[in-house]
Amino acid sequence: MIRSRTTAYIALGLAAVVLGWTLYALPRRQSAPVMRAGTPPPATPTAASPGRKIKARLFYVNDEGVRLTGVERDVAYAESASDQAREIVAAQIAPVAQPLLSAVPHGTQLRALFITDKGEAFVDLSRDVVTAHPGGSANELLTVYTLVNALTANLPAITAVQVLVDGKEVDTLAGHVDLRRPLVKNLSWVE
């Protein structure tokens, strides 16, 4: 009797520890990474399932150079929305071969990405997105809406996107498009 009660206490204790860990650690694992200036390495998707793919609509500069064109591409599948968003952005900013032309400057790296409870995604890019940007409002609008639409069009959980540079909010990338607030999906920039 005493033995079975002891076993019950141990089991209860273990259950409490597991529950405690679940409540404490799990939300931290799934919540957004803390943004700090100088957060070092580019974000590398970790929870992608090897081999499994999803179809995502990615965006590239159209032939006229003033709108985007949507292209369906295979992107690695990931379990959580934020990991999937990282995979999509990584695929979107990856170099592409002609005739596709990316509006995101070559060399831009994804440093981090997190999604708030309101469905706003914060995409932290390396400074190359500013320093390598060719300028002009047309280019800048296409750069911004490539990222905004790639996330909002493929992930219903994301309603708006704000671009950060080197972990910080920026006014604009090249002097035109307001990046101080998250931007909602806008398919008028897609042909």
């Binding site: 006229e64 002009g136 035109h176 307001d178 607030r181």
Partner: protein, 509 residues
Amino acid sequence: MNARSLPRFSGAAILALAAFIAALPSNLLSQTPQTPALTVLSKDGRRPLPLVIVSDQEFVALEDLAAAFQLAVHEEAFAALTVSYKGKTIVLTPDQTLASVSGRLISLPAPPTRSGRRWVVPVEFLSRALAPIYDSRLDLRKPSRLLIVGDLRVPRIAVRYDPLGTAGRLTIDATPRAATSVAQDAQRLVVKVDADALDLSSALPTPSDQSLIQSVRVVDTTTLAVELGPRFGAFRAASQPVDTTLRTIIDITAAQTTEQPAPPAAPPVTPAPELPSAFLPPTSPLRTIAIDPGHGGEDEGAKGGGGAKEKDLTLSVSRRVKATIEGRLGIRVILTRDDDRNVPIDDRTAIANNNKAELFISFHANGSMRPSTSGATIFSAVFDGAARAAAIAGGGERVPTFGGGLRDIELVRWDLAQTRHVDQSNAFAALIEQQFNGRIPLAKRPSDVAPLRVLESANMPAVLIEMGYLTNPAQEKLLVSDVFQNAVVQSVYDAVIRFRDALAAGGTR
């Protein structure tokens, strides 16, 4: 050659040499080849710190800094440079833009590099690396090549002159605020600024019509002089704070010609220039227009393959628009910049808002990754998502009035001021498109909306005109031509007249 002719020849030669030397530009005599320098201003006075230009960037030699700021510079065996000051250390690594300042990482716009046998660092080293560990405050003013050491009061001074019909207005901005006094001394106005020195990074104006004022010049370290013209009659000066700036406005009026006895041989009165049919009526709803030449300074904007820069093109067109509208319509036109300098976006709209402009036009030239893209686009602002929600949340507030009772006031966030004017902005954009049509090559969608930063804080109808694509070789040639720029100016002028007339008739809402 005989003995008498020799001294005569020598005398002539000396005279000729003296005349030649006198004719030389004074700067050739006073200073051997002009080298760029940073002026270091401190309580001890001012001294130059030589600049080294590498790939169009300004650098300073570490050994010059060591001498000027009592620094110890060591080149370490493992290819690092250490700069020490009173026990604090800056570690620099050649070919690395990151540096450690007392253990904290900072970044420089370029890595330390060698110039000859000397190590040079970008001038930003002074503000980003040295300032955090230095005893006195270091304030680097890169555009004016000034380094201020210690708590000196060195306001940035911007002077602008706007002719207003027969009168004129001189605007002197001192940032941060510095009290200014204005007094007349014979044929000049003496403007004294309560400061230790003045930062005059922008050019002083020289009016094209010099009958009221001839020029503005620097008298000494804290004094400017306005040289008055023959038609000067009186002046009135008033100062008011605008954000961190103290703005002094000097209104200058012409002398009353009726009080003068008729001059014996008066020159024939120049007939007034023929007024266009759209002459500004006294009750014009359009009194001030703000013109914003996009980009400037280090921010060159889009660039063409032939070397044209967006910042130059926008300034050229903006100046033409100002001259045309002021000259023909008498509407006051304010430029957000009148030289090659970078003005923060918020300052551009602040200039328009503070001057109570009734219209804001930002000029730009576009860039595309496709070289064939061409045509002009007129943008107005659009607010969606978070911006729309914030604007709606602004709402209003009921406040007590002085005589008792309550009054509803509308609260609009300054950064979303444009939300109240989008309809008029769209109407003005449509008018410009109408005027461009047939004169300027238009993009496939000539009027468009986008969340453009410079338009959002404008508290008046506002548009941004992308005149064409510098990345298109044929368009680049067109954009820099006088014919094209004049066509833009005429179209905008015509659109302004129609907009003004529509406002007067109660339309465009």
